[in-house]
Symmetry: C3
Subunit: 345 residues, 3 copies
Amino acid sequence: MTFPKNAWYVACTPSEIDEKPLGRTVCNEKMVFYRGDENKVAALEDFCPHRAAPLSLGRVCDGKLVCGYHGLAMGCDGKTVSMPGQRVGGFPAIRAFPVVERYGFVWVWPGEAALADAALIPHMEWYANPEWAYGGGLYHIACDYRLMIDNLMDLTHETYVHANSIGQKEIDETPCKTTAEGDLVVTSRFMEGVEPPPFWKLALKGNHLPDDVMVDRWQICRFTPPSNVMIEVGVAPVGSGGYEAPNDKKVYSVVVDFITPETETSIHYFWGMARKFNPNDKALTATVREGQGKIFSEDLEMLEKQQRNISANPDRKLLMLNIDAGGLRSRKVIERLIAQEQPAA
Amino acid sequence: MTFPKNAWYVACTPSEIDEKPLGRTVCNEKMVFYRGDENKVAALEDFCPHRAAPLSLGRVCDGKLVCGYHGLAMGCDGKTVSMPGQRVGGFPAIRAFPVVERYGFVWVWPGEAALADAALIPHMEWYANPEWAYGGGLYHIACDYRLMIDNLMDLTHETYVHANSIGQKEIDETPCKTTAEGDLVVTSRFMEGVEPPPFWKLALKGNHLPDDVMVDRWQICRFTPPSNVMIEVGVAPVGSGGYEAPNDKKVYSVVVDFITPETETSIHYFWGMARKFNPNDKALTATVREGQGKIFSEDLEMLEKQQRNISANPDRKLLMLNIDAGGLRSRKVIERLIAQEQPAA
Amino acid sequence: MTFPKNAWYVACTPSEIDEKPLGRTVCNEKMVFYRGDENKVAALEDFCPHRAAPLSLGRVCDGKLVCGYHGLAMGCDGKTVSMPGQRVGGFPAIRAFPVVERYGFVWVWPGEAALADAALIPHMEWYANPEWAYGGGLYHIACDYRLMIDNLMDLTHETYVHANSIGQKEIDETPCKTTAEGDLVVTSRFMEGVEPPPFWKLALKGNHLPDDVMVDRWQICRFTPPSNVMIEVGVAPVGSGGYEAPNDKKVYSVVVDFITPETETSIHYFWGMARKFNPNDKALTATVREGQGKIFSEDLEMLEKQQRNISANPDRKLLMLNIDAGGLRSRKVIERLIAQEQPAA
């Protein structure tokens, strides 16, 4: 196992289950997500105990998930509630997974249910906060989720993969600093007096700031387990105070990344951007989302081919440079959590 | 092996081999079907003994199947007849399969040829019978053939999978009765005074009967090995005599299902409907065929995903309810036939 | 291993690497081809030593291949030259493959580099020779490369696979003669007084010769290892001297085939035709290339399905007829070369 299972993972967005149940595999577990009793989210094994039909092909009636094959009605606890013409007392229960709807996402705990504590879900200060605007999307990528953590904890790749949008030479030239404290790993880079690349020019304009000036730029990547990476990013015209500048003198955002393992070598990648400037401009939200979606799609081919190279050469040692420190420290946190899940000898 | 090999299976329809040879795998055997000597159907291994080319890429000349690669001419008995510039006496024979064209289908016996008796092919009373009309089609489905037998021997699924065409609540509410005698398994259900669902309204109109009345409805599923399921279905306006009503007072059909295993987890599914009302109305035949094709296509996703759930959980026990009795008894017949094929210890 | 690795294989055409690096697998080795120092062709493992990214997603700067992920700059010898912010002295080298651009192709040596001698690349007399014109293309085919050698060393298949273009009954009826000397295997067939099939009528017209006359036709197939097949082909109106006729009285070409194994069961097939008549007619070159491309595409389905039959029946013996002598002798040469590559016991 390369991922901890006793952890909250983003499973889907609420809109994905508004119309009908959703079948999705999380950490190798085939699950069905839906709205059950009182419209609350529920997550079960996607396996009808009657004849193994996927419950995700069924529909919800009166809070029960009714199998689309022969009508078995399943409760949110995994116990069969009823089936036409049958007494269901002896039916085996299927697995129910702890699940919580919070901050605009559905979170699932694929491991030991008794340990699931909703208080462990990371707080998102921008959610339902009028000072912020949020937009995002979902990509499916055929790679180990840790390759995406590496990607996000080492932004020197922007210079090469995203050369025409957010990349610039100064990222390479400015050393980054990585620290770790407990489960939190932080890699930060501050660039002073650089030209804003195209995406940031667009953002400056979006906050009614000049885009033809030199700026200070910052990137503060924060990993928390199991696989969440929040990146404070932004630019401020030189002389405005940089990262500390007031909101109307800078463009300040948080790149939001929830990387949910589907299998050992594939992920559901929930990406987004929380923006703390001009939050009521919905057209800007759409423009930023479209721009980010295009930029983040540039990583897909690289990550999938990198995965194929690694799978074909499983024992080959890779380099561990200082720019890789963020990813490496994050992996150490993950390894510790996985080890904790193993039964004592 | 999950299927008997000493049995007649439907391999194709005659029209599939009218133009050129057809390559098709039946019970894990790669075969080529074509019209050979005197236009009679023939079935051989799809493997040229010269250089392993598939004979199905060849063409028929003077009753011989000529390999499309280097011109080896093969007889219907699997013995090479000639090859340009070669003496063929020492060429190894390939396997020829017993094959019969009957009742509008080509039947093949993938097992021991000496045991193949054409008298074992089930009689189809509607074939070339002016009282009947027939239409049907072919689907390829990635599932164990026994899942399709289960499907057809338990029609409660109509309420869920085919809710908008032939399903209705009363199917669930009316108990079915299953009996077995020798190789024949019968599951029947009789519903009295129910509203005809849309497909049956269409059929009633097709026999010039009122479609806004309550009807008696019947379903009598008959499994015979290796994997044939014939289902007497129909409705008659209440008071007409139900199943026993005269032909002009009811709509009476037989759903015809030949389920031919391609591999352990895929099938060629020949579905059709033999109709014993208004047989000369060709437009009606086309309408019924189109309606059935659409209805039967609704099972595909369910069966393929059910198969994937089973393949991923091979040891997980499923439920055996009374509605499953038809499928279970049919599997017992199949198991007995497979056991009979094993060499004595 | 079914192919020798100490040999020159065609990897690509120069135009494939004009714009950007090309990732391609040759003999199971994932390689990247590009133009490096002084615009010379280079071939490396397609694997960045930093984090396993494929170098083929990078770009060339100042003769170095710069990884498209984090900017590592790689030299043509497989040693890292530089990386932003890093000292690269301790970086492990990746494999560089001997590579030569010659005769309009890029040749690679996937085996032991010390043995690579460019003098072993076969001479192509038509290259940059005003008496000749050349056109060709590339197909990817899912078959063992030896099946394509068989195909080209036994042209009786033209009668069946290419019946409407270059096939004719007389190919079957005229015995071929196979000789071998050292590494060279030759199979030849001379047909006298036959009607030219459609492709050759087109060629006759292309050389301003009558196409409504009987012709002498020749096919001289020459295999040289590892997997090159050159076929002298042509026709001359009866009485002109046949194969020996002067250039303006015949149409004379060499079919050029470089068969590069990608894996044990797939190939990059570089096909072409060198024409020694009317060489300055560029429209004719395009017409011939289009015709050949269409004809050679007719082999694909046959070869891929033949491969599947062989893979499914690995131990089944095939026939070895006299028409197969060319392929069989070629395989013996290959086997000898593979045996020579094995370390002594």
